[in-house]
Amino acid sequence: MAVISYIEAVTQALKEEMERDEDVFVLGEDVGKRGGVFQATKGLYEEFGEKRVIDTPLAESAIVGVGIGAAMYGLRPVAEMQFSDFMLPAANQIISEAAKTRYRSNNDWSAPITIRAPYGGGVHGGLYHSQSMEAIFANVPGLKIVMPSTPYDVKGLLKSSIRSNDPVIFYEHKRAYRLIKGEVPDQEYTLPIGKADIKREGTDVTVITYGLAVHFALKAAEKLAADGISTHILDLRTVYPLDKEAVIDAARKTGKVLLVTEDTKEGSVISEVAATIAENCLFDLDAPVRRLAAPDAPSMPYAAPLEKQFLITPEKVEQAIRDLAEF
């Protein structure tokens, strides 16, 4: 097993899928010669040429819309949104078109497009290079939203997203790109979309989260273990549609649930997780469900102290788990 970074997992998945299936192609801003502003598509232009690694005009709606058309023709487009913050010009193509293509045609047409987008803060990105955009798309039936936390999950889930016959939004945490490293098998593998994953077994408090916050929870759990607090961690991996069964099982496991997101709190993905627990686990709970999220301010500011104030941190997660354990 090789140890690779989160972003290397993205690149490897793209490269291997393009080698496996000649219908897979990449389009987006700066994905060609430049290899992407984060270098996620590094080397693909050289290996597969400009026909399959397409630098597009700076126009997100066209990147997704043209991708949908190509998908309807039978190809497997992987569209890159340079930052998730810039997806909104493409929102109509994603919500009105990709998500509804199969439904509105009564299963006649489909739009198997993968839309990759770096999200998340802590990189001095200011208001418009830091946001978590999943909640905007997480009540749109027809879409799937994947938000992996580890290189292993990135690689296996990106491959499954590309092979999916439905549209998938694949969010990559940009701070995790080089911060998070992990083991990845040398042989071919894929992971199922729609399945959460237990990242740590525990008995006192359950943390349900996704993305970079999984690592915050793991770090906090390690420290808390020294104090005799046992933390159970469920990584949603797919935030829409939710793996409700896994959520319910994880909540029942300890009866004390902390939900963590880097997104702003109200109407976030974890609000839906909370509702699922409320509907199904009332008599299993030993404490109110707690949510740890960013404040309900528009987005995280640029200046370092303000950004820090906005962000969730391993310390904040640790404190929240401790509070619940002591409830």
């Binding site: 005009p57 949908i68 309807m72 509105r104 299963n107």
Partner: protein, 341 residues
């Protein structure tokens, strides 16, 4: 030299030069007339309370049918918009299917009653599924062309939309993408002079939608949307250019919307009956019929026969569609995602 009365009335045969036989143009007219008669029937059905909604094609049939004849109906991909009754009939949709669509019945090939009428799409006809937010289909048509280019397939991707839609961002993004990549796309704007109630002068600051072609480095042309032969010639030229690798074209059919926007609209709140009546003189269904009469292709006998055949076809289709079942209410949850067995 004095001309005899006969010579003065003689109309120039314009279709032979385009390679059409008399039977071809009669077929063309038959489809135009069928679209018109279907549309008229839909209004009656709507006013009788049988169907909830009509979106009308009247005034645009000539451009639609002429365009379809210029494409390869066995190979090309099309993304028609919600007024394209004439186009989809010419492309292979049947009268019965049109009626099933308007009655929103399970057998409707477009969406099985999921969408409002006129939202066409049929994969076996290589006709993309279409939504209501306008001009979203334009980037899709570009994607079809891009995919065909990647695969090395020699096809044309054809998309239609209204002039109101030509102000949307997706119009611009799609045109620009197609222009940059020199893709075989034909953008055909059916300029019917109205975006619901808003007339041309409040929509465009340029004289023609096709003027915008220059900004995308593509071929642009405006033609008489009441003349199916002009539509044919323009689309044929654009298709030939596309096949030669000369990239996309932006065509504009100059039409006029003879009916309100939909059955829910009252156009007399923003335009006058006199204005509409003045445009009826140029109605392509009437003027093309006259052309065919003048050339003695559409004789009184042929005309009567045609009207009778179309009427009985529409009667039959209406009865069938009215009696056909709706989709099972439980099917509302089907096909959100791929269903594996």
């Amino acid at each position: 030299m004095m001309k005899t009365g006969e010579e003065e009335n003689k109309v120039e045969n314009r279709h032979h030069a385009l390679g059409f036989s008399d039977q071809d143009v009669l077929n063309m007219y038959r489809i135009m007339l069928t679209a018109r008669r279907i549309d008229e029937r839909l209004w009656l059905l709507n006013r009788a309370g049988k169907i909830p909604f009509v979106v009308s094609c009247q005034g645009q049939e000539a451009a639609q049918v002429g365009a379809a004849f210029a494409l390869n109906r066995e190979k090309d991909y099309v993304a028609p918009y919600y007024r394209d009754y004439g186009f989809v009939l010419a492309w292979g949709m049947t009268v019965r299917e049109m009626m099933l669509n308007n009655f929103a019945k399970a057998e409707d090939p477009n969406s099985a009653g999921r969408q409002m009428p006129g939202h066409f799409g049929d994969r076996k006809l290589r006709m993309l599924t279409h939504s209501s937010p306008v001009t979203t289909q334009n980037p899709h048509a570009v994607g079809i062309a891009l995919a065909a280019k990647i695969k090395g397939d020699d096809i044309v991707s054809f998309v239609t939309f209204g002039e109101g839609s030509s102000n949307q961002g997706d119009f611009h993004e799609a045109c620009n993408f197609a222009g940059v990549h020199k893709l075989p796309v034909i953008f055909m704007c059916e300029n019917n002079h109205y975006a619901i109630s808003v007339g041309l002068k409040h929509q465009l600051a340029c004289a023609h939608v096709s003027d915008r072609a220059a900004g995308y480095g593509m071929f642009g042309r405006t033609f008489d949307g009441n003349d199916p032969l002009a539509a044919y010639a323009a689309v044929k030229e654009a298709a030939d250019r596309a096949h030669r690798g000369e990239g996309p074209s932006l065509l504009e059919a100059n039409c006029y919307r003879l009916q309100p926007h939909t059955s829910d609209d009252n156009d007399m709140t923003y335009r006058t009956k006199e204005e509409v009546d003045a445009h009826k003189k140029y109605d392509g269904v009437l003027t093309f019929a006259q052309y065919l009469r003048d050339l003695e292709i559409l004789t009184p006998d042929v005309e009567q026969q045609l009207e009778e055949q179309i009427r009985s076809e529409i009667d039959e289709a209406t009865d069938y569609a009215e009696q056909a079942p709706f989709a099972d209410p439980d099917s509302v949850l089907r096909y959100v995602y791929e269903e594996k067995d």
